[in-house]
C-alpha cells in the first residue's frame, strides 16, 4: 500500500474523537445568553451577555462563546465549526462511570451491545490491515468507544514507543513474536504492538514539526493533539484517533476551573486546526462528553451532575458557523427531572451522520441499535 500524506486509505475523513471525561458543562461554554432563566439559575457563575465586561462572544444572536473559547471563533466564522447544544445520549445515568460506558457503547441502557459504537462501525468496514496504526488511542489504554474493532493501538507517547536498536538487534522482538503466537493469550495485541514498533521506527512521526506556525499549548490535551497531527502527517495510514480530555467534573468553583479547561480545549483545537491547514478538508474532529451539568449552581459555585450538554464538530465538511439546537428552555417545567437541561438532539444522530456522511457510510442498526436515525444536518 502506497503511503500518502493528505488522506487516509479509504478516501474518507480521518476522525479525531475527543471525549471530555467528567461531564463537561455546556451552558457556560456556549451560553444561551438570551434566556433569562440562565441568569436566574446561575447568579454567581453565569457568563455575562456579549458586550459586558468578560461577557460572552456572540455567535448568532442567541448563543455566545465563553471568553476562553475565543480561539475557536475564527474557525466558527470560517464555517468549519458547528456546535450542537442540548445534546447527549438519553441514558438517564448521572454516574460518570456508567454514563461514560453507555455513551461509548452508543446505547441507552445496559441491554445494548458491550462493544463501542465506533468499534462496531470499524468492525463493519474493516479494511485489510496494512498498518497497526489504523485505529489509535493516544493514551495508555483503549477506550470503550473503540472496543469491537480489530486491535486498536494504544500509544501514550509516540516519541518513546518502541525499542532501542540494541534490543532490536538482540532478537528480542522476534522471540516475543514467537512466544506470543496465536492462540497464546494476548497474541493479537502483542503482534500488533510488535508490528507497530517496526512501523513507527520507519515513519518516525515524532520528528515532524507543526506547520503553518501552529503552537500547541503545553498540557496534556495540547500534547495529544500535537501527536495526532504528527501521526496524520506521517506516512502511517491513520483512520481514527481517540483522545481523552480530563478534568471536567466541576462540582465547585466552576468559573475558575472551566476557564482553564475551555482555554486548554480551545487553544489545543485551534493549534491542531492551524497545523493541519488544508488537511482539514479530510479531517473531522468530534468533541463530546458523558452528560451535562445541573442548570442551577450549587453552594460551592459549581454545578452537580445533569443531563444534556454540548458537542463540537470541526472540519472542512461541516455545516459550521451555526449552533444546532432545539432549545428546550430553562424554566423548571422545561427541565429534565425539573433540574437538568433536556436532551433535544440525540447525540447518536450526530455520530450516525458523521459515519454516514464522512466515514464512508455504516449500518446504523448495528452501530446504534434501537435508534430511529434522524440526521441533524451537521455535515455536508
Amino acid at each position: 500500500m502506497a503511503s500518502h500524506n493528505t488522506t487516509n486509505i479509504t478516501g474518507q475523513d480521518i476522525l479525531v474523537c475527543i471525549f471530555q471525561r467528567g461531564a463537561a458543562d455546556g451552558l457556560n461554554a456556549v451560553v444561551p445568553y438570551t434566556d433569562a432563566e440562565y441568569y436566574n439559575k446561575r447568579p454567581g457563575i453565569a457568563v455575562a451577555q456579549p458586550g459586558a465586561s468578560n461577557g460572552a462572544i456572540d455567535l448568532d444572536g442567541s448563543y455566545g462563546f465563553h471568553p476562553a473559547l475565543e480561539p475557536l471563533k475564527p474557525i466558527y466564522d470560517a464555517g468549519e465549526l458547528a456546535l450542537v447544544h442540548a445534546t447527549g445520549v438519553p441514558h438517564g445515568s448521572r454516574s460518570h462511570f456508567s454514563a461514560q460506558g453507555l455513551v461509548e457503547r452508543g446505547v441507552t441502557n445496559n441491554n445494548g451491545p458491550n462493544s463501542g459504537w465506533l468499534g462496531r462501525h470499524l468492525a463493519l468496514t474493516s479494511a485489510p490491515a496494512t498498518t497497526a496504526f489504523r485505529i489509535v488511542s493516544i493514551s495508555g489504554n483503549v477506550p470503550v468507544t473503540l472496543t469491537g474493532a480489530t486491535e486498536p493501538i494504544a500509544i501514550d507517547d509516540i516519541g518513546s514507543f518502541g525499542f532501542d536498536q540494541g534490543i532490536i538487534d538482540s532478537g528480542y522482538p522476534d522471540i516475543l513474536t514467537n512466544l506470543y503466537r496465536s492462540p497464546i493469550p494476548f497474541s493479537g495485541t502483542a503482534q500488533t504492538a510488535l508490528a507497530a514498533v517496526d512501523e513507527l521506527a520507519t515513519a518516525n512521526p515524532g520528528a515532524i514539526m507543526p506547520d503553518n506556525g501552529a503552537v500547541y499549548p503545553t498540557g496534556t490535551l495540547g500534547n495529544k493533539l500535537k501527536q495526532a497531527g504528527q501521526l496524520i502527517k506521517s506516512a502511517l495510514d491513520v483512520e481514527v484517533i481517540c483522545i481523552d480530555s480530563d478534568g471536567w467534573d466541576h462540582h465547585e468553583n466552576l468559573p475558575n476551573f472551566i476557564q482553564q479547561s475551555l482555554g486548554e480545549l480551545a487553544n489545543s483545537l485551534s493549534a491542531f486546526h492551524t497545523d493541519m491547514g488544508n488537511r482539514m478538508q479530510n479531517i473531522t474532529i468530534m468533541v463530546h462528553t458523558e452528560f451535562g451539568r445541573r442548570v442551577a449552581q450549587n453552594a460551592s459555585l459549581g454545578v452537580d451532575h445533569g443531563t444534556a450538554s454540548l458537542a463540537y464538530v470541526i472540519g472542512g465538511n461541516v455545516n459550521g458557523g451555526q449552533v444546532f439546537s432545539q432549545w428546550p428552555g430553562l424554566h423548571d417545567q422545561d427541565l429534565e427531572m425539573n433540574e437538568d437541561l433536556k436532551i433535544t438532539t440525540d447525540l447518536r444522530n450526530v455520530l450516525g451522520e458523521l459515519l454516514m456522511q464522512r466515514l464512508g457510510g455504516t449500518d446504523i442498526n448495528t452501530v446504534f441499535p434501537g435508534l430511529s436515525y434522524t440526521p441533524v444536518g451537521v455535515f455536508t
Binding site: A154, S170, Y180, H251
Partner: protein, 528 residues
Amino acid sequence: MNRNENELIGLLNSLHSRRDFLKLFARGLGYSALAGSLPGCGGGGGSSSQTTAQIPAPSAEYSALKRTSFGVHHDELEIIQSIGIDTYLEQQLDYQNIDDGDLYTTIQNLFPLAFQSPAQLYSGFPDNISAIYRDMIAATQYRQIFSKRQLYEIMVEFWSDHFNIHLLNGLGPTLKPADDLQVIRAHALGNFRDLLHASASSPSMLFYLDNFFNQAAAPNENYARELMELHTLGVDGGYTETDVKEVARCFTGWSIRFPNDPGGNFGEFVYIPVVHDDGEKAVLGNTITAGGGQSDAIRVVDLLASHPSTAQYIATRLCRRFISDQPAQASIDAVATAFTDSNGEIRDTLRALFASDEFQNSADQKLIRPSEYLAATIRSLAPHTSYPTDNGALFAAAQSILGQLPYNWPTPDGYPDIQSYWSSTGGLLNRWRLSFLSYAGIIPGLDVFQIDYAGMLNGANTLASILDALTAAILMRTIADADRDHLLQWLTGETGQADDAPLATATIDQLAPLIAAVLNSSAYFQLR
C-alpha cells in the same frame, strides 16, 4: 494534570528514564555485535485477544501465590509447597503474626512523611508536596515488594482502589497519609463495616469528594453518590436519585478542620451541627427521623454496610480480583453469603473465596496489573536483594511508565481491575521495556538492587542448561516444549553456538539478563 505531579514525574523520568537505560544497555553491551536475525522469525498473523489458557497450567501452589501476592517469591513457593495452600493462606490472613523483620522500621526511617499527621504535614505545605508524594509511593512499593505479609498488602491495594483518593488534589497530600494508615491499613483485613465507617469520617475522603461543602442550605451530592455507587451498593444496587439526595442531606455538616481553626488541629474530622439538615429523611425505604444530628449519617453507613447489594458488590469485586474478570455467579454468591453471615468480616469472606472451586481449580485467567508486574520482577529476579540504594526512585519511575503510580488515579473509582484496560498494545510494550530491569547490576543507574545470576545459573554453562535454569528460577513453572524450542532456536541463532556447547563466562554474563527479560515478558510471567 497537576503541576506538581508533572514536576515529580519529570524528575523521576530524568533520573531513570527508560530511554536512557536502554541506550546504556545498547552502548554497554553492544548486542549489535551479536546481531543476526533468526530464520523463520517475525511476522505472524494477529488474532483477537483471549484469555483461555493456552500454556501449560502452573502448580496449584504457584497459582495460589500468584493470586495472593505481588509475585511468586522462590522462598514462599518452597513454604507453600511444604505446609500446603490452606495453611499458608491462614498464616497470611493472620498477618499480624508474620514477622516482617526490619521492613516497617526501615520504611518509617526512609519515608517519614508517609507516617505524619495532617497538622505535621501542613506545617511544610505546599513546599513538601513532592516529598510527601514520593514517600507515599515508596512506602507502598517497598511493602508490596518486600513485605512477607503479601495478602495483607494485596488487600491494602484492593481497598485503596475501592476507596480511591487522588493524593494530588488541593490539601490532599496532607490528608491521605492518615487515611492510608487509619482507614485502609487499619481495616484491610478487618471488618468492612468498620472500614466503611472509618472511610466515611476520613478527612481525606470528605475533602476529596467535596463533603466539606455539603450543607443543609446547599447540599453537595458528590460523596453521597460515590458512597453508594462505588463503596457499597454498586451502580445497579437499587438506589435512586432521590436516595442520593437524601443521603447527601444525612451527611450535611460532616467536614474537616481547616487551617487556623481554633477548635482543633488541621485535618481532623469535625461535625458541624449548624449546617446539618436535621429534617426527616428517607433512605432506601428507611425513615431517618428528624433531629438525629450526626447519627443520621452513621445510620446510613450501617444501612449500606448491611445491604444485600453491598454483599454482592463487594463479593463481585473480590472475585474479580482473585479469580477472573468474569467470575461464576456461584463463586460470587458463596463469597457474598460469607460476607453477610460474618457481618462483613473480611477474613471470613476471603476464606469462602479461597475455598471456591473456581479459585482452586483455575489459573492464568487474568493479566497481572502493573504494580504486580513491577514487584514480581524484583521478587523473582532479586528475591534476596537488600533495599534499593536510591530510596525507591527507580521503582517510582518504572511505575509511572507502567501507568499505575499509587494514589495517582484521579477519579473515585480507583485503578481498573479489568484486564482489558491493562492489555493494550502500549501497556504490553511498556511491560516489555521494563523487563530490561533484568540488567540491574550491570548498568549504572539501575544497579540499586542486586540480581544474583550466578546463583540462579548454579553452574549452567550451555544454552540449554542456562535456559532451563533461568526458567526454573524466574518463571518457577513448566513451559511448553514448543516455547522451549523457540527459545533455544533463538539463542543458537543469536550466538552461533550449539545448545549443548559450553559457553565462555563473558557470553553467559551477557546472555543471562537478556533471557531473563524474555522470560519476564512472556505470558507465563504476565498471567495469574
